[in-house]
Every structure is written in C-alpha cells, then in structure tokens.
C-alpha cells in the first residue's frame, strides 16, 4: 500500500514536471459565448490569453466561438457546436523540426496558414472523421458534420 502510494506520488510528480516544462503551442486570442478547454481529464472554461498545449481539446457551445494563434503564426478559429483537438504541434525552426495536425471532430473551422506550412508543407494537416485536408499557403474553411 505504501509502495503504491509512493508510486502514485512519483507518477504525479513526473506528470506535473513534464507539464511545467512543456511550452504552450498557442494562446486563445478571441472568445465569445461558451467554450471549454480540456487538458487531459480536466476541463476548464476558455479565457482570453489562456495558453494551450499539445493534445488539448477545445469545445464550443451553441453560442460559442473562439480563435487561437499558434507559435508558428498559424491562426485557427471555430464556430458554435464544434470540437477540435490540437493533436500534434512541433515548431523548432533552429532544428528544422515541424509538425502540425489538427483534428476537427465536428463543427466549423477557419484555418489561416502560418510558418509551418511555409517551411514544411507536408507537416501540416487537418483531420476529420471522414476526410483529411492538406493546405498550401492558404486560408480555408472546413465543416464536419457531427
């Protein structure tokens, strides 16, 4: 029992320290109505200026909308009744490492290209349950039915 508790403590500590060192991938820049951000199992109300991390999930209510600017200058925004996951994000120009995968489960999304797409066009894609979109220096809209 004691062992198990110690193990839990260690696992928690590792989890926390990984979190603390992890850099945000972007920040919430616009917000309207109801929207939540899920970090793992914890969901909180979205707020302007809130940092977002890889694997975070964003949900908007029937009156919700929000916009995010990523560290590579890519911008996205979602309309009401939408769910999107920041599935994969790597932006390390000094090491030439890039990756950017968004997953739109359902709802509406606007995407405006940033530096990842410019520097590594194949690193960027938007996935939905039915189809996948790759962009080349553009602005686009996607809607995926629930």
């Amino acid at each position: 029992m004691r062992c198990a508790l110690a193990l839990v403590t260690i696992v928690c500590a590792i989890g926390l320290s990984a979190r603390a060192e992890e850099a945000p991938v972007g920040f919430i820049k616009t917000l309207g109505g109801t929207a939540t951000v899920a970090h793992g199992l914890i969901a909180t109300a979205a707020a302007l200026g809130m940092p977002l991390y890889q694997s975070d999930r964003l949900d908007t209510g029937s009156d919700g909308e929000l916009g995010v600017t990523f560290r590579d200058n890519t911008r996205i925004s979602v309309g009401p009744n939408s769910r999107i996951e920041l599935k994969h994000f790597v932006f390390k120009p000094a090491a030439a490492e890039y990756g950017f995968i968004l997953s739109l489960a359902y709802g509406t999304l606007e995407y405006i290209s940033g530096l990842t797409e410019k520097l590594a066009p194949d690193a960027m894609s938007i996935e939905t349950p039915g189809f996948t979109v790759g962009a080349r220096g553009t602005r686009l809209l996607v809607r995926a039915e629930k």
Partner: protein
C-alpha cells in the same frame, strides 16, 4: 410559365440547401493571393486552387463535386468561425550594428512601432528572435544573437511591456534572411525579429 415556376422552384431548393454538411472551401488570403488545398478521402483526392471554390467531402464519390460557393452562403454558415479569426501577427525586423548588440539607428522607428504594437495588443504573446550574419565563429554568433535579442527585450520591458509575455530565442548565423558564404558581412542578417501575436 410552368417552366419558369419549376425553374425558380429548383433555384429556391438549391439556395435553401446552402452548403453541404461536410465541406471544404478555399478562401483568398488576406493579401489577395490564393493558395491551394488537397482533400483526401479513402483513396480519392480533390484539389482546389481557385478562390471560393469548394468540395463536398461527404463521401469519396462526392469529392468529384467541386463547385463555386456564393459569398453570402459562406458568410452565414461560417459566421462564428469567420468572426472569431484572430488578427494577423505583427512582424518587425530590427537591424543591428556590425559585431554589436546595438541597434542600427535606422531601425529606431521600427523599434518604436514594435513597442506601440506590443502595448496596443490585448492578450499579446511576443517572440523576440536574435540573429547574426556569417562573420565570426559559431559560438560568437550565437552569443551575439542572444545579446541582440536581450537588447530588444529590455527596450520593450523598459517601455512597459510585461516581461512574462516575451519569449526570447536566438539562432546565431543559422537562419539568414539573405544566405551568404561564411565570413561575408550582410546587414540584413544582423537582425532581431519581433513577432506580436
């Protein structure tokens, strides 16, 4: 007459339908240029390269249905997402004196503009990236590019920009704006890039 009634009925039905439930639309960029996009579904792909064209992504077969959208349909069905789009990041490039972490006097105006941009942006996050040209050794250039970035960070902070929203990185001579052989001085590469998101 009957034909006309039928024709308007068809039109009415078409406009009432609006856009497909699963759809991808290519928009022109804010600067007027147009990029392109590819939609993959099963083993099929559809490519769009003209502004306001769209594809019905409902099924692999429907990918063949490439059409031109009407602006009012797009604006009403994507109203929330379009309304929430963040504004474009502001980017400033400040030049430095050779071998020094001192601003080139010609870049003073741009530093003032960057400072105003930073203070005028709510919920800003700012990146300050230092660079050097290809004169000097790699360790020297890395250290110099860091000092240049710190000079700009300090100027922003002195003007009242909170330091915790500024992220500093430095690349030495590894990311030149204008590629040159080693040892060649190039004013445009002696720079700090400030991005205000």
């Amino acid at each position: 007459m009957i034909m006309r009634v039928m024709a308007s009925a068809v039109l009415l039905v078409l406009s009432g339908c609006g856009l497909p439930a699963d759809v991808v639309i290519l928009l022109p960029n804010e600067n007027g240029t147009v990029g392109k996009l590819v939609v993959h579904e099963g083993g099929s792909t559809a490519e769009l390269d003209k502004p306001l064209t769209a594809v019905d992504a409902g099924s692999e077969a429907s990918l063949r249905n490439v059409f031109t959208t009407q602006r009012p349909d797009v604006e009403s069905e994507f109203a929330g997402a379009l309304d929430a789009a963040p504004r474009a990041p502001l980017v400033y490039i400040l030049q430095f004196q050779p071998g020094l972490a001192e601003l080139d006097p010609r870049s003073r105006g741009d530093l003032a503009a960057a400072t105003a941009g930073a203070k005028g942006t709510s919920y800003a996050d700012i990146s300050v990236i230092g660079h050097a040209d290809a004169t000097g050794t790699d360790p020297y250039n890395l250290a110099l590019s860091l000092k240049r970035a710190e000079t700009v960070r300090d100027a922003l902070v002195a003007a009242g920009v909170p330091s915790d929203i500024i992220e500093i990185t430095y690349h030495g001579a590894n990311n030149p704006l204008i590629p040159t052989p080693r040892g060649v001085p190039e004013a445009r590469n002696r720079r700090v890039e400030v991005t205000i998101r």
